[in-house]
């Protein structure tokens, strides 16, 4: 099967001159001709490039490769073995050898026949790649947490708006039934004024100092490090593992505050209706008698991380003056009063629950240009909480935050952590 030859169905702003090849073609094609009304012509599939072929890409890759309305045109990874493995899967699926296979993500962005990219790299590459993709006129699915720093999240959010791009952050709990229902109950006041919330993030072992090892053949370590400070290669540093690997290191993320905070803090923001704002006070362990790290919304609840004596033993628990809710994965939704979870919402209530999967929501948004359920500003605001929590943990002190100005107040050193100078020659 050859690469897509007709113009993309997307008739939105493609601000980049990347589309030079497309200039000769009409900018837009009527939706009926594009198969918008119930069928999808093979030549009008959404076309994708995948960047980062590690642990988290598996579901996205198979979920896209197996759709008849999608076509995977290229894969990219700094590990030759990984990218070739996935390239072979694409070749086997389509019965040809057309799939691009790159070490450098820029080669995917240069292709005008690719509509959208999945950015499934370690955290420190999320924004640099997503931002360049938006500049190149692509839509983006980027894994959570969306950013490595607060400043780069703001830059990406502004760019997405400026280019009219669609971006979905991979905080897929938003598309799950139980989290949606819990968020609806909280948002609509079914447990009254919420005063306390608990979130279970777990913990990583402290990142170790690692001895230098030889860089394996076919692994572009320089590119893997990208904008982060140089460290000698060790396989533990670059390993993709849910229980450790690169996730343990501050250099590549916000450790558990980012890894699970990007899920649970995101749901808390959603439930409280704070998607375009955030909490204003962050504190480290030992700040109060609860003994937990956490943060507080002005005139709103206090959130405690990893408090153990919970009522429901759920991932997230909301406590209000009229009831409580425990919510987690695998269908966990518990309420007090017990029948709270069964109450149907009335028309006057805010309806939040998703009616499609997280990936479908992205695919449909590419077609309609509707905001995704976890769009860039939402991802930025949720990641901001992760980063501020991490800064508070790292500096072992409280942080005051102004969410409207997006400034850390009265602490120059903490404020510097809002960004991280990038290693040359990497830029944003």
């Amino acid at each position: 099967m050859s690469a897509k030859t007709t113009m993309s169905r997307k008739n939105f702003l493609r601000a980049s001159a990347m589309g030079a090849a497309a200039v000769a073609a009409p900018t837009v094609i009527p939706s009926r001709a594009m198969g918008f009304s119930g069928f999808t012509a093979p030549s009008n599939r959404l076309t994708f490039g995948f960047i980062g072929m590690g642990l988290i890409v598996r579901g996205h890759f198979s979920g896209t490769l197996n759709r008849t309305d999608c076509q995977v045109l290229a894969v990219c990874d700094v590990d030759r073995a990984k990218r070739e493995k996935y390239m072979k899967q694409v070749s086997a699926k389509y019965g040809n050898a057309d799939c691009g296979c790159y070490n450098e993500y820029e080669k995917i962005l240069e292709r005008s026949d690719i509509d959208a990219v999945y950015v499934t790299t370690p955290d420190h590459w999320h924004v640099p790649i997503a931002l360049d993709a938006v500049r190149a006129g692509k839509d983006v699915y980027v894994e959570k947490p969306m950013s490595l720093t607060i400043r780069e999240g703001r830059i990406l959010s502004d760019a997405v708006r400026r280019h009219g791009a669609v971006l979905q952050v991979g905080s897929q709990q938003r598309s799950g039934y139980t989290f949606g229902k819990a968020a609806e109950l909280v948002r609509n006041g079914y447990i009254g004024n919420v005063h306390t919330i608990y979130a279970q993030l777990g913990s990583f072992s402290p990142a170790r100092v690692l001895p230098e090892q030889e860089i394996p053949d076919g692994f572009d370590y320089e590119r893997w490090l990208g904008p982060t400070p140089w460290f000698p290669y060790n396989k533990e540093r670059v390993k993709g593992a849910f229980g450790g690997g690169w996730r343990c290191f501050w250099e590549y993320g916000a450790r558990k505050n980012g890894d699970w905070g990007a899920h649970h803090y995101d749901i808390i923001q959603w439930a409280l209706g704070m998607d375009d704002s955030g909490p204003e006070f962050f504190f480290p362990k030992g700040y109060d008698e609860m003994g937990c790290q956490g943060y507080k919304y002005t005139n709103g609840p206090t959130i405690y991380r990893d408090y153990r004596k919970l009522k429901f033993d759920s991932m997230i628990e909301f406590y209000g003056d009229k009831g409580s809710i425990g919510v987690g994965r695998a269908g966990d939704l518990q309420t007090d009063p017990g029948d709270l979870k069964n109450l149907p919402l009335s028309p006057g209530d805010t309806h939040l629950r998703a009616t499609e999967t997280h990936r479908d929501n992205f695919m449909n948004a590419i077609k309609t240009r509707k905001k995704t359920i976890a769009d860039v500003e939402i991802g930025h605001r949720s990641a901001t909480i992760c980063h501020l929590s991490a800064i508070s943990e790292r500096l072992n002190r409280t942080i005051e935050w102004d969410p409207s100005k997006e400034e850390i107040l009265g602490d120059a050193e903490a404020a510097k952590w809002m960004d991280r100078p990038r290693r040359a020659p990497y830029t944003l």
Binding site: N11, L13, S37, E413, P425
Partner: protein, 593 residues
């Protein structure tokens, strides 16, 4: 807990008083754990010295100490780089001379560490050092040149653009990219003019980067130039959106009514982003003349405007030939519709319209739906009943029961499903009785499903079971079978006893139905009862096989680690026939690994 916090604070204070120099031996240690501890101690000392309540003298002292460490040419990996990263965080003017020297260090990582520390340094002197480096040092690698260029952009150093514009001519992609992005960050006249001049010579990704920075400049005069007809439609559209968002809406009417879809999208996107009433009015006013793919986008703008006055423009699109347009029109009306939208939504009837009727929060909607539910054609009545249930009208359960008793299959089914949605324990008895009365009608199946749903979410399943069992006595076989199915499908442990009793009934028909129902049990909690019955020699072989197959199915659905081998063995011992034993043996082998 307070003790722990106090201890932490005391420890940190102690570390801050310790000289950084004293930690150097541990930083250099071959013992990696000692190295790690020392790294954390340096970090803690720096954090303490730069805390809001610390003195400037303490911060300066520790920075000068770190500078001294760096002057002594320590090992790069173990000492120089971590010390530099701490200077990056807390260093100020006192650190600049040392960092300047390190820009010429033999080791590339030290040089870049010093550059990064200068990027984050709040002193003006840091900018001067970076600028001087860029001007004076000729034999530099492209990587380092790119780093210095980008550093000046990141620092937003006023006047730095003049230093950088020459790099736009670089053929090296790293230098070029850094220059474009730095000039974009600086957003000074000279830099923007240079970017405009350069773009005519570029293509591909290089041109995309320039255009992106020009669009980010927010300058109306730049947007005007990018609107040149020689430019691509997508770029013109992005530039036009910039013009509109910067407040100049003079050409909006022409653009939205033009035949240029890209310019139409620019207006729609601008309206989406700022929800300006004038823009939204333009979008609404031109809704019907837009092509379908832009109608979809325009409908999203109207939906999120929250303004009900646009409903009248949206309603006709419920009859569009385009499926996406119909769906998005319904979604929009869910948010901005009025009571006048009810009939068009009913007439549309797609899934989105049905959902919209459940969410439309406008005066008079409930009244209209109640009227529609009471009379009219069956389709409309069924949809209205469904909508009322979706609107959480629990007060209407008596009415829904009346509708469920009607002979019209569609209406009765919708009403039974409405009961399932909003009914509770208090409705079970009435639903069971109606199920018995209507046992020959298709609605009995809907009622059965509804009762099961209510029981599954019941907080007092045992009471519900009692209601069911009470009604079973004297019921006709078909109704008894239905009740037994409800008991089995509810999955409530309270339902097991009555099911087992029915399985032991002398009424052969009842026993057969009960065995069949119990054989369909879904959870392991039913297995002891099933095995107890299956082991009874008086049970017919047919009934025995139904129960053993049920047991086998439950086990097969479990993960191997969730299956007790002892229980499985009991099941194996209970089997009368080899076929069921073989099936269980397969599960047993899996569990055993």
């Amino acid at each position: 807990m307070f003790k722990k916090a106090l201890l932490t604070l005391l420890l940190m204070a102690a570390v801050s008083q310790a000289a950084i120099q004293e930690l150097i031996p541990d930083l250099k240690s071959e013992d990696l754990k000692s190295q790690k501890r020392a790294l954390l101690d340096v970090l803690a000392a720096c954090s303490q010295a730069s805390a809001p309540d610390a003195s400037e003298e303490d911060r300066k002292a520790i920075c000068l100490e770190m500078c001294q460490v760096l002057k002594d040419n320590p090992p790069v990996q173990e000492v120089a780089l971590p010390v530099l990263s701490n200077l990056e965080r807390i260093g100020a003017e006192e650190s600049v001379p040392t960092l300047e020297k390190l820009l010429n260090h033999d080791d590339e990582h030290v040089r870049d560490g010093a550059r990064r520390a200068l990027v984050a340094n709040p002193s003006d002197a840091a900018s001067q050092v970076l600028g001087a480096q860029l001007k004076n040092r000729k034999a530099r690698s492209p990587v380092e040149t790119a780093g210095l260029i980008y550093a000046l952009g990141e620092r937003q150093q006023s006047g730095a653009s003049r230093l950088l514009v020459g790099a736009l001519h670089s053929k090296d992609s790293q230098v070029f990219t850094a220059a474009v992005k730095a000039l974009g960050m600086l957003n000074e006249d000279v830099g923007i003019e240079a970017l405009m001049a350069r773009r005519v010579r570029e293509k591909g990704l290089r041109l995309a980067l320039i255009d992106s920075e020009l669009l980010a400049s927010g300058r109306p005069e730049v947007f005007e130039q990018l609107m040149n007809k020689a430019e691509t439609d997508p770029l013109r559209a992005a530039a036009f959106m910039g013009i509109v968002l910067s407040g100049d809406t003079s050409k909006v009417s022409d653009a939205i009514s033009s035949k240029n879809p890209a310019l139409q999208v620019a207006v729609i996107e601008a309206a989406k982003q700022n929800n300006d009433p004038q823009l939204v009015d333009e979008v609404a006013g031109n809704l019907n003349s837009l092509p379908p793919y832009n109608q979809v986008k325009a409908l999203i703008v109207l939906e999120f405007s929250g303004n009900r006055k646009y409903a009248q423009w949206v309603e006709p699109l419920l009859q569009s030939e385009d499926r996406e347009v119909r769906a998005n029109a319904a979604n929009a009306l869910a948010r901005i519709g009025t009571d006048d939208s009810v009939l068009p939504l009913i007439a549309c009837g797609n899934a989105e319209a049905r959902r919209a009727l459940g969410r439309l929060d406008a005066e008079g909607v409930d009244g209209q739906l109640e009227l529609l539910a009471a009379s009219g054609d069956a389709d409309s009545r069924a949809m209205a009943i469904e909508a009322l249930a979706n609107r959480a009208r629990r007060d209407l359960t008596p009415t829904f029961l009346v509708y469920a008793a009607e002979d019209n299959r569609e209406v009765a089914s919708a009403a039974a499903k409405a009961m399932a949605r909003v009914g509770d324990d208090s409705n079970i008895k009435a639903m069971v009785q109606l199920m018995m009365v209507k046992e020959d009608a298709p609605v009995s199946r809907d009622l059965l499903t509804g009762i099961v749903e209510i029981m599954r979410r019941s907080l007092d399943a045992s009471a519900a079971v009692l209601v069911l069992v009470a009604d079973m006595d004297g019921a006709r076989p078909r109704s008894q079978a239905n009740i037994l199915k409800v008991l089995a499908e509810s999955g409530s442990p309270d339902a097991l006893d009555p099911l087992v009793n029915a399985c032991r009934s002398s009424d052969e028909q009842l026993q057969k139905t009960a065995i069949k129902a119990l054989g369909g049990w879904q959870d392991v909690n039913g297995i002891p009862a099933m095995l107890g019955l299956a082991a009874d020699e008086s049970l017919s072989l047919t009934n025995h096989v139904i129960l053993m197959r049920g047991v086998s199915r439950i086990y097969a659905a479990k993960k191997p680690n969730e299956v007790s081998k002892v229980d499985l063995q009991k099941a194996l011992d209970t089997c009368r026939r080899q076929e069921e034993r073989d099936a269980l043996q397969t599960t047993y082998d899996k569990a055993r690994g």
